[in-house]
Amino acid sequence: MLIDPKVKSIVIFNGGGGIVEREMKLPVQQGINEFQIQNVPASFDPNSADIKLEHLTPEDKESITLQQTVISLPDYKNAEQLIGREKSAANSIISYAIDFTRELRENVLNICEASSYRMYFDMKGTFNFIINSTKDGEIIVKIIYFLSDVRIRWNTTLQVNINEDGKTAEIEGFIVVDNQTGFTYENVELGFAIFELPQTPSNIVDYQTNVPPVGLRQEMLGELNSLKNIQKGPMKRTQRFKQLL
């Protein structure tokens, strides 16, 4: 059965990527129940993907169990070919569109823009699972996976209004979430974490290196900080705003 559980929450990392939690109440029939989750981005980490069952009654614990999960990512080369074709089609649309100045303009531009930004991580991954049940019933399924896509990230921006005394101020903090992925997260519970994914070819822009994504969890457990190449540049100079008029 094809299912599209709603994204309940997403914890976004400031260095890019995040943890997605999706949830759905599913009907199960006696026997083997196979489910296929839709809209799982290819940037999900297969090693950390997890399914949790929340039983509605205590008796269900014995009768409804998770048998297995089936996870795979799209073939990298084929996906790249498809993306290439989409991009050239988008270019053709722009080149040959006759009615490109009227009300269709916005829609055409959106389609073309989406194609030009698309990359491997915007393709869909496969995340299936099988539930074994000895009776008909219902179950809440929670799906959790990591996104190793640096195109979704957050940062903060601060506005400091200095008072006239020069010794006190009012500080306002904003969170700016930048989602350059091809996925929209509608009305989700947002969480923010200070975390940086290791900068390996698996999660930086892959289309140039031609290296397919690898598991994230192992990388995360590794020496994260040793991978950071922090080089201090020359110190900046003050450039104070001077009002002329």
Binding site: N155, I162, G166, V176, V177, M235, K236, F241
Partner: protein, 217 residues
């Protein structure tokens, strides 16, 4: 918090708003070598950083978060955060271009050289080592080009070659090897600090040993 994060878009969410104490930390670090201490003119840079002590709950900010300082509702300075510790938000350090520092030599009193010898590579040669302790006076002139008064710390750090003898004014705080001067400079005004320093000057000259110098008749 709940929000919609659309594809290929940026969203801005309110996080916190609170009052804070606003502190400015300006300092000038001065340190000489045996060579630089006798230079006619040296220039130093004033380094500035802003420290905000927030009221209420602590916040963890990622490093390098953009920060804009506003004065009279106008943006006045754009910079980034360096770190946040507890309720303190500390900005990155910047060179303050509105503070001009000139460090000029006033006087050098050369000390009596003490001559010792060291072996050279060639057996017929030796190295004459002339060690002298020179007394050097320098004047540091700090000019505040801003239209408001500032406070800063001039931090002289002595080294094994250049040590502190005295100063005018006296250091506000001595924590060897650092001698700190807390200075207040009026708008468009200057501050002068004189330093008396002792520098160990070592000169090495390779010479032929006297017994090998040919004497012409």
């Amino acid at each position: 918090m709940k929000a919609t994060v659309p594809t290929r878009k940026k969203i801005k969410l309110k996080w916190f708003k609170s009052k804070c104490k606003f502190n400015i930390d300006r300092k000038i670090e001065v340190q000489y070598t045996a060579n630089s201490v006798s230079s006619n003119k040296l220039t130093w840079e004033a380094v500035i950083k802003y420290i905000l002590v927030k009221e209420g709950e602590n916040v963890d900010l990622p490093t390098n978060s953009p920060m804009t300082l506003y004065k009279n509702n106008l943006p006045f300075l754009f910079l980034n955060t360096a770190e946040s510790i507890g309720n303190k938000i500390i900005s990155e350090e910047l060179i303050d271009d509105d503070i001009i520092i000139n460090d000029d030599i006033v006087q050098i009193e050369e000390g009596e050289p003490k001559i010792t010898f060291e072996d050279a590579i060639q057996p017929k040669e030796h190295i004459e080592v002339r060690t002298s302790f020179d007394l050097i006076s320098r004047k540091i002139n700090i000019e505040n080009k801003l239209n408001y008064p500032i406070e800063l710390v001039l931090d002289f750090k002595q080294t094994k070659e250049v040590t502190f003898v005295g100063s005018e004014p006296e250091p506000s705080e001595i924590e060897e090897p650092n001698y700190k001067f807390k200075l207040s400079i009026p708008p468009e005004g200057t501050s002068k600090t004189s330093l008396e320093l002792k520098a160990k000057i070592v000169k090495r000259v390779t010479k032929i040993k006297p017994e090998f110098i040919k004497k012409f008749k």
